[in-house]
C-alpha cells in the first residue's frame, strides 16, 4: 500500500506523541513505584524496630515481676525450705502474678540446694492454676536457667534459649514454645539461695504483639543461629526440635549480615521459595541480648506482601496510564490536524497543477502566505504565468504559420490551397442545399509587360493593389484568392441571377480601370475574367475550375479586359470593350 505524505506525517507525529507520553508515563510510574516501595520499606523497618523495642519492654516487665517475687521477704526462707507458711505465701503471690499475666506458663521458686529442687511451683493447666506439690516437684539444677541464674548478681535476669519445653509435668506449657526468665533470690546476708523462674508462652507473647500489627504483616523470630522460633507457618518454627532445621538466612538471604553482626537491620525483597507466588518485603532487626542468656542475639522480622505495597503504586500507575492514553489520543488528533494543515495547500497546489496541465483555468494559489507553502505557490504562479505566455506566443506562431500556409504572402489573400478547400466546401454545400454559386477566374492582362518594364517591384505593387480592389469590390460572403502569378479567383456565393454575376464582373473590371500608382508612375492594368457556374457548368470543383479557366482564355482571346461565361450552349456574353 502506498502511503500518502499526510498519512506518513500523521503516523510519524502520532508515534512521536504516543511514544513521548508513554515513556514519560513509564518513567514517572517507575520513579513513583520505587519511592513508594522505599517509603514502605522504611515504614516496615520502623515498625520492626518498634516491635523489637516492645519485645524488650515485655521482657523488662517480666523482669520486674521476677524482682517483685525474688524481693519478697518470704522468698529466701521459702527457697531454703524452712517455712511452709512462707512457701504458701509465695504460692499465693505467684498465682496472682499468673492471673495477671496470661502468657505465663509457669512461675517457680527453685532452691539453690537439693539439686535445684522446686520449692514452690504454679503451673497453668487449661483454664486454671495448679499448685504443684510434694513428689511432683522436680530437681532442675541441671538446667542452665537454674545453674546460670545462681551465678548472677541480685536483680539480674537470665534469659534461656527459645525452645519447645519438653520438661515432663509442665501442664499447659508441655511441648509448647517457651522461653524462661529467671532471677536469683538472696537471703538477708546476700547469699544466693534460690531462683525465681517464669516460663513464658512464646506463642502467647507473640500473639499479643501480632494483634497490634496490621493484618497482612507476617511476624518472624529467629535465634542466634537463624533457627526460626516464630514463623507464619508454624511447621517452620522450631525445626531444630524436630531434627530438621529451618533457617531464616535460607529464606531471607540478607539476614546473614545480621547473623554475622555486619548489620543491625536489613530490609529485603524476597520472591523465591514460599514467596515465589506472593513476593514480600521484609525488614529484620538483629537484637543483641544484653542480659545474661544462652541466646546472645535474636532476629526479629516483619514481612508485608509486596502486592500491598505496590497497590498504591498500581493505583498511581492507573492514573498515569489514563493520562498516557489521553495524551496519546490527543497527539494522534493533533498529528491528524497538523498533517492536514501541511498537506492541504500541497494538495490544492497539485490540483492546480493538474488542472493547469489539463488546460483548465488555474485555480487560486495561496500566494499570500508568508511560509514555505507561500514561496512554493509564488514560484508555481510565476512558472505558470511564464508557461502561459510561452504558450500564447506559441499559439500566435502557429496561427501565423497556419495563415502563411493558407495565404499568399504578397497580397494576403487566401492561396490556391486555401481556396481549393473553400471551393470543395462550397461545392458540398451547394449540392446539399441545391444552391448556386459562381466561380470567376481572373487573369491580369499584360502582367508580363508590367514586370518587364517596372521590375518585380512594379509587378508586386500591381498585384497588391489588385487584391485590395478585388476584396473591396466583392461581398463579405464571397471569397477572393490568388491562385499564383497574376491569376486570381473569386467565388460568388449564391448569386440570384446571371445578371448579378455580370454586374459583379463588370464592377471588378471597373475597379481595375483606375490607374495604379507606383513610384510616381501610373500603371494601367486590365482583367480577363472567365466565369463558370454551379451546377450549370459542372458539379465538381475541378470541372468548375477548368470551365472558368477555359472561359478566361476565351475572354483573353476575345480581346482582353472583358469577361466571358463558360457556356456549354456556346452563347458567350459580349465582352465589355475597354
Amino acid at each position: 500500500m502506498k502511503l500518502g505524505i499526510a498519512v506518513k506525517l500523521g503516523l510519524l507525529l502520532a508515534t512521536v506523541g504516543v511514544l513521548a507520553s508513554g515513556v514519560t508515563g513509564f518513567y514517572a510510574y517507575q520513579a513513583s513505584r520505587s519511592l513508594l516501595v522505599a517509603s514502605a520499606k522504611a515504614e516496615l523497618l520502623t515498625t520492626t524496630k518498634v516491635l523489637t523495642r516492645r519485645i524488650t519492654l515485655s521482657r523488662e516487665e517480666v523482669s520486674r515481676n521476677l524482682q517483685l517475687l525474688a524481693g519478697h521477704p518470704a522468698a529466701a526462707s521459702a527457697a531454703l525450705g524452712r517455712s511452709l507458711a512462707d512457701e504458701d505465701q509465695m504460692g499465693t503471690l505467684m498465682e496472682q502474678v499468673m492471673l495477671a499475666n496470661p502468657s505465663y506458663f509457669q512461675v517457680r521458686l527453685i532452691s539453690a540446694s537439693d539439686n535445684g529442687l522446686e520449692r514452690v511451683r504454679v503451673d497453668r493447666a487449661e483454664d486454671r492454676m495448679v499448685r504443684v506439690r510434694g513428689d511432683d516437684l522436680q530437681e532442675k539444677g541441671h538446667f542452665s536457667y537454674v545453674s546460670s541464674t545462681l551465678k548472677l548478681a541480685a536483680g539480674a535476669t537470665f534469659l534461656s534459649r527459645l525452645v519447645i519445653n519438653h520438661e515432663r509435668g509442665a501442664h499447659a506449657g508441655l511441648d509448647q514454645p517457651s522461653v524462661i526468665l529467671a532471677t536469683p533470690i538472696q537471703d538477708p546476708q546476700g547469699k544466693t539461695v534460690g531462683v525465681v523462674v517464669i516460663n513464658l508462652d512464646l506463642n502467647g507473647v507473640f500473639a499479643s504483639l501480632r494483634a497490634d500489627l496490621p493484618k497482612d504483616y507476617q511476624l518472624f523470630l529467629a535465634n542466634r543461629n537463624g533457627d526460626y522460633v516464630v514463623h507464619p507457618d508454624p511447621s517452620q518454627a522450631f525445626g531444630f526440635d524436630k531434627g530438621r532445621r529451618v533457617f531464616v538466612q535460607d529464606e531471607f538471604e540478607a539476614t546473614a549480615a545480621l547473623m554475622e553482626g555486619r548489620a543491625t537491620s536489613v530490609v529485603t525483597e524476597v520472591q523465591t521459595g514460599r514467596y515465589a507466588n506472593a513476593p514480600v518485603v521484609a525488614a529484620f532487626v538483629g537484637r543483641v541480648i544484653k542480659i545474661s542468656s544462652d541466646e546472645d542475639r535474636l532476629i526479629v522480622g516483619l514481612a508485608q506482601p509486596l502486592a500491598l505495597v505496590l497497590e498504591q503504586a498500581d493505583r498511581l500507575g492507573g492514573v498515569i496510564l489514563q493520562l498516557v492514553i489521553g495524551l496519546g489520543v490527543a497527539s494522534v488528533l493533533l498529528a491528524a490536524i497538523v498533517a492536514r494543515a501541511v498537506t492541504r495547500p500541497i494538495n490544492s497546489m497539485s490540483t492546480a497543477v493538474q488542472r493547469f496541465a489539463n488546460g483548465h483555468q488555474v485555480a487560486k494559489l495561496a500566494i499570500d502566505r508568508q511560509d514555505e507553502i507561500g514561496v512554493l505557490a509564488r514560484s508555481f504562479d510565476t512558472m505558470q504565468n511564464e508557461i502561459r505566455q510561452q504558450l500564447a506566443a506559441l499559439h500566435e506562431n502557429r496561427l501565423e504559420l497556419e495563415h502563411l500556409a493558407r495565404h499568399d504572402a504578397l497580397t494576403g489573400l487566401p492561396n490556391r490551397r486555401a481556396f481549393q478547400e473553400r471551393l470543395d466546401h462550397a461545392v458540398a454545400r451547394a449540392q446539399r442545399s441545391k444552391q448556386r454559386f459562381a466561380l470567376l477566374f481572373i487573369d491580369v492582362d499584360n502582367f508580363k509587360t508590367i514586370n518587364d518594364r517596372w521590375g518585380h517591384d512594379g509587378g508586386d505593387a500591381v498585384l497588391k493593389i489588385v487584391a485590395l480592389r478585388l476584396n473591396a469590390t466583392t461581398r463579405k460572403a464571397d471569397a477572393v484568392a490568388r491562385m499564383g502569378g497574376d491569376e486570381f479567383v473569386v467565388l460568388l456565393d449564391n448569386p440570384a441571377h446571371r445578371e448579378d454575376i455580370t454586374a459583379i464582373a463588370e464592377k471588378l473590371l471597373e475597379s481595375v480601370r483606375s490607374p495604379i500608382l507606383h513610384n510616381g508612375q501610373e500603371l494601367q492594368v486590365g482583367f480577363s475574367i472567365g466565369i463558370s457556374q454551379f451546377p450549370d457548368d459542372g458539379r465538381t470543383a475541378a470541372e468548375l475550375m477548368a470551365r472558368a479557366d477555359h472561359a478566361m482564355y476565351d475572354a483573353k482571346a476575345a480581346g482582353r479586359n472583358g469577361f466571358r461565361f463558360s457556356s456549354i450552349k456556346g452563347t458567350p456574353s459580349s465582352p465589355t470593350p475597354l
Binding site: N115, D135, Q138, H142, S144, H166, E167, R168, G169, F240
Partner: protein, 356 residues
C-alpha cells in the same frame, strides 16, 4: 564416518537389546549375575572405588544410598530383599534381618582379606550378634566409638572409667547426651553389668538411681555435636560423654579447646557397621568379592581420610589396641528407656521416675 558413529552405536545397542530380549533369553540372567546391587550409607561406596571394582571383576555395581536405619529396613523387608545383593548394617540392626531370614551366612573363606583385619575384628565370635549357630552373618567394615572427652586443664591424668562422669569433683561440669538408650547402657556399665543392653527388671531402680545422680552431676545435655561444642566452651566443662566420638573431638579442637579423648576401661560404647549378604543375592561370588575388595588398603583408607571414620584393618589414632569397645546391641526396650529418661531429664526423683 564419524557422524555415523553415534547412530551406529545406537543401532547396535538396539539390535543387541533385541537379540537379548528375543533370541537368547537364557543369557539375560548371565548378564544380570554380573550386576551387584549394593544398599549402603553415603561414603561407603564412592564412585571411584566402585569403578575399580567394576573394572577388576568386569561387573556392574548399582549402589543405592540410604540415610537411616528405618529406610534401610523398609527397602530390604519390602520385597524380601529381592532388590539387593549386599548391604551395610550395624551389629545391633543386623539382628532383625537375621531373625527375618533376609540374610544368608557369609563364607569367610571367600574373603581372604579378613586376614588383614585387626585382631578385635578378626575374632568374629567376640563381636555380639555376628555369629549365630556357628555361622557368620556379617563382616565388620567400619565403626565409631563413644569415648570420654576431657579438659586437659582439669584432668592431670586421662579418665580411665566412666565413673568419672559421676565424680562429684566435676559437679555441674559434666556434659551428657540427651538420649535414654545410651545413657541407660552407661548406667548399666557403671553398675558392673556385662550386658548393658539388657537391663533386667531387678536392675531398673538401680539404673534410674545412677542416672538421677548422673543428672545431679550434669552441666547439661546436648543433642547435636555443634551444641555440645557451644556448651563445652561456655560452661567450663571438665568431662563429656562423646556420643559422636571423633567428630566432636575434631570440632572441639577446631574451636581451640585443649581436650583429650579417652576410652573407659568398662568398654566404650561403639557402633560397628558390617557387610551382609541378602538371601536373594544373585551372584554370591561377586558379593564376597565386593566385601573382600572393601577390606583392601585403598577403600579402607578412604573411610579414614574421606569420612573421618575408622576402618578395621589399621588401628585408629584415638584407640589403643588394649582399649575395649562395647559393640552396640539391640536394647531390651527402647520405649521404656526413653520414657524413663524423659522423666529423669525433667528433674523427677526416683519415686516418680519409676512410677507406672
Amino acid at each position: 564416518m564419524t557422524d555415523m558413529a553415534p547412530v551406529f552405536s545406537r543401532f547396535f545397542r538396539l539390535v543387541r537389546g533385541l537379540v537379548i530380549a528375543l533370541i537368547v533369553p537364557a543369557s539375560a540372567s548371565a548378564l544380570a549375575q554380573d550386576k551387584l546391587r549394593v544398599l549402603t550409607w553415603p561414603g561407603y561406596a564412592d564412585p571411584d572405588l566402585v569403578k575399580v571394582f567394576e573394572q577388576r571383576t568386569g561387573s556392574r555395581v548399582e549402589v543405592t544410598f540410604i540415610d537411616s536405619d528405618e529406610v534401610m529396613w523398609q527397602k530390604l523387608s519390602k520385597n524380601k530383599a529381592e532388590d539387593f545383593d549386599v548391604f551395610a548394617v550395624n551389629t545391633a540392626e543386623l539382628q532383625r534381618y537375621i531373625q527375618a531370614g533376609l540374610v544368608v551366612p557369609v563364607n569367610t573363606g571367600a574373603i581372604p582379606n579378613i586376614a588383614t583385619q585387626l585382631p578385635r575384628f578378626k575374632d568374629l565370635r567376640a563381636i555380639p550378634g555376628l555369629v549365630h549357630d556357628k555361622k557368620v552373618f556379617a563382616i565388620p567394615y567400619t565403626y565409631a566409638e563413644m569415648g570420654l572427652i576431657y579438659d586437659r586443664k582439669q584432668f592431670k591424668e586421662p579418665p580411665t572409667s566412666i565413673r568419672a562422669l559421676w565424680d562429684p569433683r566435676y559437679r555441674g561440669k559434666v556434659l551428657l547426651y540427651n538420649g535414654g538408650t545410651h545413657n541407660f547402657s552407661l548406667a548399666a556399665q557403671v553398675l558392673g553389668d556385662t550386658t548393658p543392653f539388657r537391663i533386667d527388671s531387678k536392675e531398673w531402680p538401680a539404673a534410674v538411681e545412677q542416672l538421677i545422680s548422673l543428672r545431679r552431676n550434669a552441666q547439661g545435655f546436648y543433642s547435636q555435636p555443634e551444641e555440645s561444642v557451644e556448651m563445652f566452651k561456655a560452661g567450663g566443662t571438665a568431662l563429656m560423654f562423646a556420643n559422636y566420638g571423633s567428630q566432636q573431638v575434631q570440632l572441639l579442637k577446631a574451636a581451640g579447646l585443649e581436650i583429650g579423648y579417652a576410652m573407659p576401661k568398662e568398654g566404650a560404647l561403639a557402633w560397628l557397621d558390617c557387610w551382609a549378604i541378602t538371601r536373594s543375592n544373585r551372584n554370591a561370588k561377586l558379593a564376597h568379592a565386593w566385601i573382600d575388595y572393601l577390606l583392601e588398603p585403598q577403600p579402607s583408607n578412604a573411610l579414614v581420610t574421606r569420612q573421618g571414620l575408622a576402618n578395621t584393618t589399621t588401628e585408629s589414632q584415638t584407640l589403643r589396641h588394649q582399649d575395649r569397645l562395647q559393640w552396640l546391641e539391640p536394647v531390651e526396650d527402647v520405649e521404656r528407656r526413653s520414657m524413663l529418661w524423659e522423666r529423669i531429664l525433667s528433674g523427677d526423683r526416683a519415686k516418680k521416675v519409676l512410677a507406672p
